[in-house]
């Protein structure tokens, strides 16, 4: 008599099919073992927005009565396993209908396993992940985040490999034999079965103590009650006055929405070379999230609380090496780059050179015909 649940956290649109394949795979495999299950998405995440953290769930029970307790739920808690399909999600997640930053391990039960696709070291990820206050386990599979689009699926076996790893870390939910049978049936592809088995064999988890992890208190705010909320669905405008920033005289920092940060959408961030900037204003004008602060010396500093990582600034910048999109994993905080540059220009140059060397394939969907083939060639090389 038991129930097990798997939470799959993924990047909206880019990993939608990946998440669906995992959850359906779990339910089908559980059925092979005589159990009953359900698969569903967190409803408020849909219609999905590109890259915005979204969730799907698979819940598996021994009996119908047990399963019933977990139906008609918005977001199951106490999950046995949380799968982060992209390791930058370890920094915390804010869906477009969630107001506040949710730690990636928040809905994971004590002693459960966080399973992440990543090429980073476990210790590096633990530094990103918020402190849980309860022990849990971390397991990694070495895999690309497998971003694709709404109408295309990049079938690089990440789904099969995650299912294989899941059978290793949570055999009480589904066993590897059932997983392999389902993969064979659903995809009719022996290579995918082999991928799942290899992943099962290779997956190891390591304990994470209650006190390990990012100490930062995740951003949150109190929702008003019906007696305190303004009537008539009125939202007061944000003041047009500029924000006062300690130590800055001049420039312009707009006041931003204090309750919706959006930055957990980001898997890449712009790094700015302030020495080559011509102050042409194009990044500032074209940024869809108004994320550029104007500095007192007339430069443009991307504010990392507001940046979604879309890459428009890099695309419109007319200077060859002024704006470079860099893997979000390379950063530990959201501090101002301009302030770092002002303080120590030499040091900033060293820092910037190191950061822009880290540009893995983390494209947002597919932009041109033939891109899939190019990426596949690069990855196999």
């Amino acid at each position: 008599m038991s129930t097990g649940s798997v939470e799959v956290v993924y990047r909206g649109i880019f990993q939608k099919t990946l998440a669906k394949n995992i959850c359906r795979g779990v339910v089908f495999a559980a059925k092979k073992e005589g159990k009953i299950g359900t698969a569903f998405g967190r409803y408020s995440d849909s219609p999905e927005r590109n890259g915005i953290p979204a969730k799907q769930f698979a819940v598996v029970s021994d009996t119908h009565d047990e399963l019933q307790e977990h139906l008609a739920r918005y977001e199951p808690d106490n999950n046995d396993v949380t799968i982060a399909c992209d390791d930058t999600l370890c920094k915390g997640i804010e869906s477009w209908a969630w107001y506040g930053l949710q730690p990636i391990n928040k809905l994971l039960k004590k002693g459960g396993t966080l399973l992440v696709t990543s090429f980073q070291s476990p210790n590096k990820l633990i530094n990103f992940i918020h402190r849980k206050g309860e022990p849990y386990n971390l397991a990694l599979i070495r895999a690309q985040a497998s971003f694709s689009g709404l109408w295309v699926y990049k079938d690089d076996h990440t789904d099969a490999r995650l299912l294989g790893a899941l059978a290793k870390v949570a055999p009480h939910i589904v066993g590897i034999d059932a997983i392999c049978e389902v993969i064979e049936e659903q995809w009719k592809d022996d290579l995918k079965v082999i991928s799942a088995r290899k992943s099962f064999d290779a997956t190891k988890s390591q304990p994470v103590s209650a006190e390990q992890g990012n100490e930062e208190v995740p951003f949150s705010f109190e929702k008003p009650g019906w007696k305190t909320m303004e009537e008539g669905l009125v939202i007061r405008g944000i003041s047009a006055e500029k924000q006062v920033v300690a130590g800055r005289d001049g420039g312009y920092v707009p006041t931003r929405n204090a309750t919706f940060k959006k930055y957990s959408t980001r898997t890449m961030r712009p790094v700015i070379n302030f020495d080559t900037c011509t102050k042409c204003t194009l990044c500032w004008l074209n940024c869809p999230d108004t994320c550029f602060d104007i500095t007192p010396d007339g430069l443009y500093d991307a504010n990392m609380d507001a940046c979604c990582g879309c890459g428009v600034c890099e695309a419109v910048c007319p200077v060859a090496d002024c704006v470079t999109m860099v893997n979000e994993e390379a950063f530990d905080d959201n501090a101002s780059q301009w302030e770092m540059w002002v303080k120590d220009k030499k040091g900033y140059e060293t820092w910037m050179t190191e950061k822009i060397s880290d540009q893995p394939a983390r494209t947002h969907g597919f932009h041109h015909v033939g891109q899939y083939a190019e990426e596949a060639t690069n990855e196999s090389a």
Binding site: F28, A39, Y43, E69, A72, G225, L233
Partner: protein
Amino acid sequence: MNPPKTATAETMVTGGTEELISGSEAIAHACRLADVDVITAYPIRPYDTVMQYVSQMISNGDFDCEFIVAESEHSQFEIVKHASAVGARVFVGSSGVGWFYAFEALAVTAGLRIPMVAMVGNRALDDPGAFGVEHNDALAVRDLGWMLVWVETAQEALDTALIAYRVAEDKRIFLPIAISCDGAFLTHSQAIVNVPDQATVDSFLPRYDRGDKLLHPDNPITIAPQANEDWVMEIRRQSDAAMRRTRDVITEAYEDFGDKFGREQEPFIERYMMEDAEIALVGMGTLALPVKVAVRKMRAQGQKVGFVRVRWFRPFPTEELQDVLSGVAAVGVIDRDYSFGSTFHSGVLANELRSALYPVENRPKIISFIAGLGGREVNTDNVIVIAGMVADAAAGGDMNDQDTYWIGVRE
């Protein structure tokens, strides 16, 4: 009444396949199995998922029908109304304010006695633009001649859609039916569903035959003329008579469905652990899921509590509700809807039930609860709190049965 049999491998009389599908996909399968001729669509969440599955079936070559994407919900419902008049079996649907945009077409469909089957993916009305479930969208047509039914699971959605065609298109009836499926909890949740085979469906569901009411050059008739005060009351009385006849037709359809498909269920309501219940909870749709779990938990602690799920809201199951609730001490009605300014500011179901139980001797106290609006989760703990308040009313406590209690709202 015996508890309904659950569909298991043993009770399955028919073949068919087991699929992992959502409530919306189950409805799409029902359209395919009913061999619907004309489907119109206009996107709105959560109904749009039905469109996706239907168009997928058509493009895969599994289903052949006219699939028309209209330019608005009003046209969407008008097109199928006309298609039905010329003899096409039709399917249509919408959600929330999309359903309301079609409101004129909804009214004339019932007035013209068009046997349309619609799916309402229940959604909160704008504003605010929320996607989650509320029942006010479908309930808005409750006085117009639409039959209204709520389902709990994807299996029930598929089964009810097949039953709906049989009932709506019965010549004794010729009225439209709206099948309500709770947004998210049913439309977007995948469960293992038995999808019956075509032969069994064909043995249950006859072809749509309008007889001499077919709009066709070989059968020259006019439908929908202008008529004024000297005609209207008689027309309304005909619709009323048709609605009164639905009880027998629905009962027959469920009996035959049970025989053919091996899934028997009481047509109008579901009685859950009501045999010796001293207090009862009443609700519709997927609300039944947490309520059943809560009822089992409370039963395990010796509390005599039961649950009645209202399937059909139109025709309203007055006799069944009088029968099952007349003996209990107090009833808690959980509405996933609101009726601002109504009697005791209660939900629609609560006041309808008060009316149904008024003539009954030993009528129970009826306490009205509003919960789960806009898709907010109603969990087992909420239900246990509600049942505690109903038990307090039964014991003569200070619960006010002339007021309404909001559960899970932030003060």
